[in-house]
Amino acid sequence: MNRRNFLKNSLMTAATITTFAGLMIKPKRLYAAWPKASFDITDLNDSINSVYGHNNLNESSEVMLKAPDIAENGAIVPLNVKTKLKNVESIMIFVENNPQPLSSGYNLSSKSVPIVGTRIKMGNTSKVIAAVKSNGKIYTASKEVKVTIGGCGG
């Protein structure tokens, strides 16, 4: 190998090492990036598929979804999800008739107790689905929440 080639190889090696080193350095963010694709989807089934890679949902009484029958105001619908299932990896809340069905996702840790609650906006009467991933399987509970529009109260 002549000097020129040696240098070229060295530089390439250095570049390669630097690149690999860069890739191996732990990124500042330890968590997965915000799943933009899933949040953009407008169809419920596609949305579920994008989150789990499939649509195999199992309705289960072990998942408890608390939601009002009739939302007093679609701007602030209180929701609560809890489950008795073990090894819960995540809890997702889908709102079928919202422009984008995926409203929120909760990624739990081994320390988590599987209870989550929030308040969401609903534009129309819709089925709300709480999906719990436990031991690799998806368990769901759903409830229809009515949203009325057209009050006198302004």
Binding site: Q100, Y106, N107, K111, V113, T118, K121
Partner: protein, 102 residues
């Protein structure tokens, strides 16, 4: 002034964390009534909570979460745990608050 109000209470080994965050949670679909232009989307995308520096939950939110959003979750922990809640929105804004579990 912090945008976050945090409450963390322990009972029977379970810490329940409740948070209220000041944020417009703008969907990007509403129009400015005067100009007719769409008000740009401005909403919290991620909320991360740590207890004693260990990540406890990572939350992904979309714009459907209500304005001045509320959140509650639970983990197995102790009184005196230091809970830290951090949020980041789609415009790169962030805020964080620490609180002690009572």
């Amino acid at each position: 002034m912090s945008t976050i109000k945090l409450r963390a209470k322990e009972s029977k080994g379970v810490v329940t964390v409740k948070a209220l965050i000041k944020h417009p949670m703008e969907t990007g679909q509403r129009k400015n009534k005067k100009t007719g232009e769409k008000i740009p989307a401005h909403f919290i995308q991620q909320v991360i909570c740590k207890a004693n520096n260990d990540e406890v939950i990572t939350i992904n939110w979309g714009p459907a979460v209500s304005k001045n959003p509320y959140l509650t979750f639970a983990y197995m922990g102790f009184k005196g745990d230091v809970v830290e809640l951090t949020w980041e929105d789609n415009q790169g804004n962030k805020d964080s608050l620490e609180g002690e579990v009572k």
